[in-house]
């Protein structure tokens, strides 16, 4: 299996011969021309050999284990598809989780694949280069297996068919896109903190572990297999992210303030991105294993505390936003779901008001907030819907200039008040969802003035389907957003009465009757 070299060589020595011993310092071309990006962020590295390789996989072992994983994974997918496995999920509402997932996740895995290729090209040390390359191809694995696992659902349900077109154009996917665009346009070390550390180490656990366990609980063998199989690579990725942080901090004390600013920035940016994941757990899984709040406590608070207690020896402090995220864990999933419910025409997935027993579950899981702030809103919407006056917000949202989230989160300490911040830069006013986003902007205004905000761009005539004449006398900006998004009408609006709901019921009935 692994390189069976001379018995004298242990795992570590063997691995050194197989990786960093291959590299040399170039002399015909200067090193700073061969690796031009490692200096400009201000991170000081004195000795790349001090990098520790935690997982020591040579390529033959990598191929052996990855091939075994892929063989199993595709065997399960094929069987699931051949047996109409999509009809064995708990209820058709579940499929909306996959719609949100397909739109938001594989495109970001793809960005991770490209980003890690870039960092792999730029890192000077052989250790981090090899680990980054391996992560890059792993990320190819992830977006492809995710697409492959959901591909069969696309044949039977609406709203999945245009994910590739929508990834760069859909308003609510813009926050995730800005997250990865931000990371990939930063230098190699910031990318490592953003994706390798904040995203992989601090946050992916909460994205995948409880969520995929939830998919399993709801009978989706395909998503479960793909999700857990992807996670088996994630342990390697998390370790790379943590190693990179330690390496930077050990190399030079001047790196600490830079790294700390990145940790603060990216933990916050990642947290904002997770609001929609939490919403899936609390509202979209018909059978639930744990609330977002519980998952947050285990995988973010407890695990994050362990991590930052440990990193305190380097002088690293808990991310600035930590306290605010703890306060928000009882609010954001409700605010997000209500936000999506209010825009039935603008999402390629269905929404619904939770059933009474589901509302009770939320009351129990969120004793401090749900009955007080959110249950009344949902019950109000429910009454309106039943009275034929379904709430429908047709206006353009207001977006944060940094995280691009719709501004909808509450003022810290006051759930009844919406949080707005603004700043003026070069005579122009910019808006934010929070103090943290405002601070990120003020640290790098030249970067964040560039943010592509689709609600603004649409009004400027930049979001039109091909062939639109924006100079025509009757042109109205944003009037053809559905065509621009390639949105299938059948995929929008309420789950109740949807084609998905009817088809699922009809097909399941065929399986139970003669």
């Amino acid at each position: 299996m692994d390189m069976k070299v001379s018995k004298k060589l242990g795992l570590k020595e063997r691995y050194t011969m197989m990786t960093r011993d291959l590299a040399w310092d170039t002399t015909f071309q200067p090193m700073d021309k061969v690796f031009p990006q490692v200096g400009y962020e201000g991170i000081k590295i004195h000795d790349w050999d001090k990098w520790e390789d935690p997982f020591r996989l040579t390529m033959d072992a990598y191929w052996k284990y990855q091939a075994e994983k892929e063989r199993k994974l595709y065997a399960i997918l094929d069987a699931f598809n051949q047996n109409n496995g999509h009809l064995s999920v708990t209820d058709a509402r579940y499929i909306n989780v996959l719609k949100l997932f397909l739109g938001s996740t594989p495109p970001l895995e793809l960005m991770a694949a490209r980003g890690f290729s870039m960092v792999a090209r730029q890192m000077v040390g052989a250790g981090p280069r090899v680990a980054c390359m391996m992560q890059s191809v792993d990320e190819y694995r992830h977006f492809q297996t995710q697409i492959h696992s959901i591909s069969n659902y696309n044949r039977f349900y609406n709203g999945l068919d245009e994910f590739a077109h929508q990834q760069s154009r859909m308003w609510y996917l813009s926050d995730g896109k800005s997250f990865f665009d931000d990371a990939i346009t930063a230098g190699p070390f910031e990318f490592m903190v953003a994706i390798g550390f904040a995203f992989e180490y601090v946050l992916t656990n909460i994205l995948f572990v409880p969520f995929i366990s939830g998919a399993a609980y709801n009978g989706d063998m395909a998503a479960m297999t793909v999700g857990f199989s992807a996670q088996s690579d994630e342990a390697r990725h998390m370790t790379l992210g943590l190693e990179c942080i330690k390496f930077m901090l050990e190399q030079d004390p001047d790196n600490l303030p830079i790294v700390q600013r990145w940790i603060d920035k990216w933990t916050w940016r990642g947290t904002r991105k997770l609001a929609s994941v939490g919403m899936m757990m609390d509202y979209m899984l018909p059978k639930r294993i744990m609330s977002f709040k519980e998952a947050w406590e285990i995988y973010f608070e407890q695990n994050g505390t362990a991590l930052f207690t440990d990193l305190a020896r380097y002088g690293v402090k808990v991310p600035k936003c930590f306290g605010q995220t703890i306060e928000e864990k009882e609010h954001i999933t409700h605010q997000s779901w209500i936000g999506f419910y209010m825009k039935p025409d603008a999402c390629p997935f269905h929404t619904w008001i939770p059933a009474p027993d589901e509302l009770d579950w939320l009351s129990e899981k969120y004793p401090n907030t749900f009955d007080k702030y959110y249950r009344p809103v949902l019950e109000h919407f429910d009454r309106q819907e039943k009275a034929g006056k379904r709430f429908n917000n047709k206006t353009q949202p207001m977006n944060c200039q940094v995280c691009v989230s719709t501004i909808k989160f509450n003022e810290p300490g006051d759930p009844m008040e919406m949080c707005f911040r603004e700043t003026v830069y070069k005579g122009e006013k910019f808006h934010f969802c929070s103090d943290h986003c405002k601070e990120i902007f003020e640290n790098e205004p030249e970067k964040y003035v560039q943010t592509f905000i689709s609600s603004h761009a649409a009004l400027q005539g930049k979001c039109e389907p091909e062939g639109t004449d924006v100079n025509a006398h009757d042109y109205r900006p944003g009037a053809r957003m559905h065509a621009y998004w390639r949105m299938d009408k059948r995929a929008t609006g309420d789950f109740n009465g949807s084609e998905d709901q009817k088809n699922f019921a009809k097909w399941r009935a065929q399986a139970t009757k003669n």
């Binding site: 892929e70 047996n83 694995r141 492809q144 492959h148 994910f163 760069s168 930063a186 399986a511």
Partner: protein, 330 residues
């Protein structure tokens, strides 16, 4: 409620994703390669310009002088998406590992004649550093290439080259020549015979145009080096000392035969897109061939003595034939 989901037949609403149906011109099932490759890279509405390259977008066709009406025409004839690639490599490494185990068990490598070992130490072992250079250069194509068709295949090639560097290392260890690996590295860094080649791969590391880099590294240099070593040199050593070297370099040989299909298909598609591409590729290949021959000449002499030039000329003819087949006059 018992359900037998297998027995029911239901009519799908559609066969594939919208972007694939438009590409194929019909709503029909698409391969897993297509699902995992086509039209997936973002092409617009980028939020920010790279701080490391503000004159370009994150993904930008202007990072090469090659132009394409459709960047996904640069598809991989092997249809390697991650799963297909890793399964293929998994099988190859299994065979290679079994070969190394057998050679170890039967003492085939350690008993290899000293004259043969000397050639392996001097000629083959330094090539692990050439593979490492190829790994770096392919990572640049994977990073800055346009479209997922080329970027993913380059990412796999990059890992393949790391694997090759490791198989060469393992070869050195199998022949019980750990010190020889250190000497080979010293040669790579200092011996005159290798400095031309090292100079060349280092020059590639600072090449701006990723497509030119692809042509130079993957088509020209490897197109000469691999047949020179894994075909001509192994043949010669096998004739003198028995076939064990072929057995322990099987991975490289099989890999090259397969990789050529990809490299040639990419060149062919780019040349077919427009005449300017064809002319540019011709220029690049001519320049890269000339310099590759220059830097490989001392290596060929080290390997083949006075036959060096003639053997090198044979592999140059093979390369020319490949270029012609791809529709590129050189």
């Amino acid at each position: 409620m018992s359900m037998d989901l297998r027995t029911i037949t239901i009519e799908p609403l559609r066969q594939t994703f919208g972007h694939l149906a438009r590409r194929m011109g019909a709503d029909k099932p698409a391969s897993r390669y297509m699902e995992g490759t086509m039209d997936l890279q973002p092409v617009e509405n980028y939020h920010y310009r790279p701080t490391w390259d503000p004159s370009h977008d994150i993904f930008d066709p202007a990072r090469t002088r090659i132009t394409m009406k459709d960047w996904y025409a640069l598809k991989d004839p092997r249809q390697f998406y991650y799963g297909a690639w890793t399964l293929a490599r998994g099988r190859m490494q299994e065979t290679a590992t079994a070969d190394f185990d057998l050679a170890d068990e039967l003492g085939l490598a350690t008993g290899y004649p000293a004259a043969g070992k000397k050639v392996i130490n001097e000629v083959l072992l330094p090539l692990r550093h050439v593979a490492w250079a190829s790994n770096i250069n392919n990572s640049a194509v994977a990073a800055y290439g346009y479209g997922i068709a080329i970027s993913q295949a380059a990412a796999y090639a990059c890992m393949d080259q790391l694997g090759i560097a490791q198989f060469i290392t393992r070869l050195g260890i199998a022949f019980d020549e750990i010190d020889a690996l250190a000497e080979a590295k010293q040669d790579w860094l200092e011996a005159p015979v290798w400095q031309g080649l090292r100079h060349y791969v280092e020059d590639m590391m600072v090449m701006d145009d990723w497509f030119e880099l692809f042509v130079t590294q993957n088509f020209a240099l490897e197109g000469l080096l691999f047949p020179l070593i894994y075909d001509k040199l192994t043949d010669r050593l096998n004739a003198a000392h028995g076939p064990v070297l072929s057995m322990l370099t099987r991975f490289q040989r099989e890999w090259f035969t397969e990789n050529v299909k990809w490299v040639d298909a990419v060149l062919k598609a780019a040349a077919a897109d427009n005449p300017a591409n064809k002319a540019l590729l011709g220029e690049w290949i001519a320049a890269a061939r000339q310099r590759s021959v220059e830097v490989l000449t001392p290596v060929a002499e080290l390997a083949f003595g006075t036959d060096g030039a003639a053997v090198l000329d044979e592999v140059v003819q093979q390369l020319n034939a490949r270029a012609a087949k791809a529709g590129i006059p050189v």
